[in-house]
Amino acid sequence: MPKKYHIHTTPVPPRLPRIGKYGVVDWREDCANCHNCVKKACVYDRYREELTYIRNLDNVDALFFNCMGCFSCVQNCTKGLLRLTINSEYEQMGNQYWTPEIIQTTWLQAETAAVPVSGAGYQGKFSGHGFDSMWTDMSEIVRPTRDGIHGREYISTSVDIGKKPSFLTFDENNRIDLSPSVIDISLPLILDMNPAAFSLPQLEHVIVEAAKRTDLIAIIDSGKWPISGNIGLDKDMQKYLPHIAFFLNPDADQPPENILRKTRLVEIPDSGNPLERVNRLKETFPELVVCVRVVLNANGVSRAIQLAESGIETIHVVADFNGDEIGVEKPRFIRDMIREIHKSLIEGCLRDEVTLIAGGGIALPEHMAKAVICGADLVSTYLPLIIALECRVCSTCKPGWLCPARFEEIDFDYGVGRMRNLIAAWHLQLIEVMGAMGMRDARRLRGDVGRAMFFKDLEEEVFGPIFGSRRNA
């Protein structure tokens, strides 16, 4: 039996006080000291924990926010003094896209590596922006195309990066030509480069180690990794090379051949003549897969299609960190741009010739599944990994500014453990979604929009005949 992809995890507790959703306030002065709230009402024993917490407090501003929001203490307080309300610090986290809920669930997954579970049904909006306006399908009783009844252990989340030829070719000795090669990666996920704001001393090492432990690939700016000269031959460094995709800036030196041979993927920006640069890299090592990074600005979508037509084998399209098109007045969301590129590649009979990596706005594991359904082969992301380190997406990162998450104090094992746990939780959740769809192979999920239901389509199909035309449609 082939080896299963499995990420070994252990819990990694947070370094900082948790920012919970609820806080108990208005504990006014005429408390009867009956201790009903402490001894009886709180089934989670939070009041006792709070005492211990305060005793060991090293930060006077850090309040205790581990309340579970059950209202038991509020409703059982002898004198009706307690009030429960939303913690304003919690509400202020993130932005409109990276909501406090996303940040909190990412923290939980980074701590426990578990699939977040809760009761009482769904609590959110009916539908929403971007990935929230689609649902994934599930397979029930009749499904002629599903992969058969199988256990989750048989679900493969691996995908390929590189060109998949449409037909066999033979070399001069009539042997099957095995080039170009493809890379097999265990999850449809690549760990993307961090913007300069997050350039902390150890961050690249932490990310690469996390990529190694999860058998993934991290894109690292070649300028931030010691690859020139003979350092690349250092044994400690060598072990990371299969998990690094060097991003080579236009002015960056080409890595030495011995390094290129050990790494599997290289990324270059879309500048100058990318095809020429790809060919130059492949001359050094023909089996290397070279990816071109395309920024999804106003011309991004058409440029990605153009590059595919010119013979580029792997294209990495990147929107902004909220998933929006860059520099346009009415930006499209990454989901729609992926669909457009994917559709165009199919129409041009190029789809299997190109691997499409999509980045920007990938915040949750369902985004990974949904982006793949919309047509990406795999996704790239960086911010969830940073959030895993207890970042609050306060967006005030500047050199010399105090980071509320104290990034400068991050311990290597802590960082790696949190990122590893998060990726493991994403893997488990991808399996959940694929299991529900009856899919055994993530490769076959690509572009299978029949496995998804879109808000717009359902509204048109079901509500259109009942209610007519939709306003602002």
Binding site: Y22, V25, V43, Y44, M68, G69, C70, F71, S72, Q75, N76, C77, G80, R83, L84, T85, I86, T105, V115, P116, V117, S118, G119, A120, G121, Y122, Q123, K125, F126, S127, D132, W135, D137, M138, S139, E140, I141, V142, R143, I149, G151, E366, K370, Q429, E432, G435, A436, M437, M453, L458, E461, V462, F463, P465, I466, F467, G468, R470, R471, N472
Partner: protein, 523 residues
């Protein structure tokens, strides 16, 4: 029991007395509406009345003017009790001549909006909806308008929350409320099996012992008896203490087959095949190890403390033919049973429904993606399967087109919270609905979502922890749910009256009576 009629020639074959040797006497529960006050010392109110003890001269003016009983001076006491804020009608009192805050000679009273309502509820179940449901469960009546509860719709921004009824200015027919029939028929197949009519177009959804407490389960089924409808055992086995209510039970055959025996199948008038559930479509069930207490393990014939999984899907059902084989098996074991097939809402839910009809089911139960009461992965709750609003209309239309709509009972669940949602679901095409969360709210659930944490539900509802379960008394719980049903019944009758309909069945599929706030409604 629910009205149970069979052709005379087959009577002997199908009466429970003749089919079940181990039958126990059935218990009746009266449909009496009486007050079932909150079980907590401090009720959560929309507005809070503060009294300044320094300013108050205890003149009693406030108690004298307030008709709602907010201010209480107990006989023999010198000081007023803490104001009963939950009785206060809030801002709407400002316009009246009995506004205590304005009339207090010492300005000792203050009314503020309760900051806690922000922390209570969510987009689907707003704080107003929860508070109104509590009030209905307490009194058995609809909350008076003056309390200002905006409870008819949630704030999810889609589906039921954006759909409204187009009421005529004047009902086409003036009807007396007593004339309006809310009952529905569950067997529409004419296959010789009993006709079962329930008094209200809803019944209770499956919640196993293990996912909820004994008291919760008993409260639900006793309310179902009082309202001549049904409740469901869920998958956790058939508790002996439910047997006096056999005639109002649905027992579930789910993929884990926990507690399923021929003898339990023979007890009940309806058997439900659970293929999937709305909260976690396509994922099966999962009882966390903490909730697998000795009592649960005994019932499920499992080992204490280990997590119990119901796999997905039925590993013996790969086609409609396999599904038919299962149905035939149950029909053979229990000759009087109706079969319900509970499915979730995939893209081809219409095909599943018609396939299930052809396999011989009596009831197709659609469980929408936003429903669920127990613990489920967050990724599944939000992302998998379509919301019930779409599924109802889609399936109804398909069954009509296939010419079998009048042969099958279509039941919807998953995010149906109020009588208005029930009426909308029926107008979209369902015959009736299944409720679950609303009953738990009636018992005091605050939707804190911690059903699965540690010892389970801190409110004593969805837990088997010996300490926590004592919070709920069966009589009290029964009354709360009976009261909620009564309020819903009143509301539903009120809707039908405004539409001039004598029966809830007339409403089925009447999409033309609905409008959507995001549409031009120009069909």
């Amino acid at each position: 029991m629910a009205q149970f009629s069979v052709p005379e020639e087959t009577l002997k074959d199908v009466l429970p007395e003749n089919t079940l040797k181990t039958r126990v006497p059935q218990v009746k529960v009266e449909r009496t509406i009486k007050s079932a006050p909150e079980r907590y010392r401090n009720e959560i109110a929309k507005y809070i009345i503060y009294r300044s003890d320094d300013e108050c001269i205890r003149c009693g003016k406030c108690a004298q003017v307030c008709p709602y009983g907010v201010h209480v001076l107990k006989p023999g006491y010198k000081y007023f009790a803490m104001p009963k804020s939950h009785k206060c009608i809030g801002k709407s009192c400002e316009k009246t001549d009995h506004h205590c805050v304005a009339l207090c000679p010492q300005n000792a009273l203050q009314m503020v909006e309760n900051p806690m309502v922000d922390a209570l509820g969510d987009f689907r179940w707003t704080s107003d909806m929860i508070l109104a449901t509590w009030r209905m469960a307490q009194t058995g009546d609809l909350p008076p308008q003056k309390y200002g509860f905006d409870y008819q719709c949630g704030n999810s921004g889609g589906g039921f929350d954006r759909i409204r009824f187009k009421y005529p200015d004047k009902p086409p027919v003036e009807l007396d409320e007593a004339e309006i029939d809310t009952s529905i028929e569950l067997n529409r197949r004419d296959d010789g099996r009993p006709k079962i009519r329930i008094d209200v177009p809803w019944y209770g959804g499956g919640m196993s012992f293990g996912s909820v407490s004994n008291a919760t389960q008993l409260s639900r089924v006793r309310a179902a008896v009082a309202w001549s409808t049904f409740s469901c055992t869920g998958e956790g086995g058939y508790m002996e203490r439910l047997r006096p209510y056999d005639d109002h039970m649905i027992t579930q055959v789910a993929t884990g087959l926990f507690g399923v025996r021929e003898e339990t199948i023979q007890r009940v008038p309806i058997i439900e095949f659970k293929y999937a559930q709305g909260a976690k479509p396509g994922l099966g069930g999962h009882l966390l190890g903490d909730k697998n207490t000795p009592a649960v393990a005994r019932m499920r014939e499992a080992v204490v403390g280990i997590p119990l999984f119901s796999p997905f899907p039925f590993h013996s059902v790969y086609s409609i033919e396999d599904h038919m084989k299962h149905i035939e098996w149950i029909k053979h074991v229990n000759r009087r049973a109706l079969i319900s097939t509970k499915v979730s809402t995939p893209t081809d839910v219409d095909m599943v429904a018609v396939g299930s009809y052809s396999a011989g089911t009596h009831i197709v139960h659609l469980d929408g993606g936003y429903g669920g009461t127990g613990a489920a992965p967050d990724i599944a709750k939000k992302n998998i399967a379509m919301p019930i609003e779409y599924a109802i209309a889609k399936v109804h239309k398909f069954l009509v087109d296939e010419g079998v709509r009048d042969k099958i009972t279509l039941i919807a669940s998953g995010g149906i919270r109020t009588a208005h949602d029930i009426a909308k679901a029926i107008a979209l095409g369902a015959d009736g609905i299944v409720t679950g969360t609303s009953e738990l709210i009636a018992l005091g659930c605050v939707r804190c979502t911690r059903c699965e944490s540690g010892r389970g539900c801190p409110r004593g509802i969805a837990t088997t922890d010996p300490g926590l379960v004592t919070q709920i008394d069966v009589e009290w719980g029964t009354q709360r749910i009976i009261n909620l049903y009564n309020a819903w019944h009143q509301e539903l009758v009120g809707i039908l009256k405004r539409l001039g309909m004598r029966s809830v069945s007339e409403l089925c599929g009447r999409c033309d009576l609905l409008m959507h706030l995001d549409y031009n409604n120009d069909v």
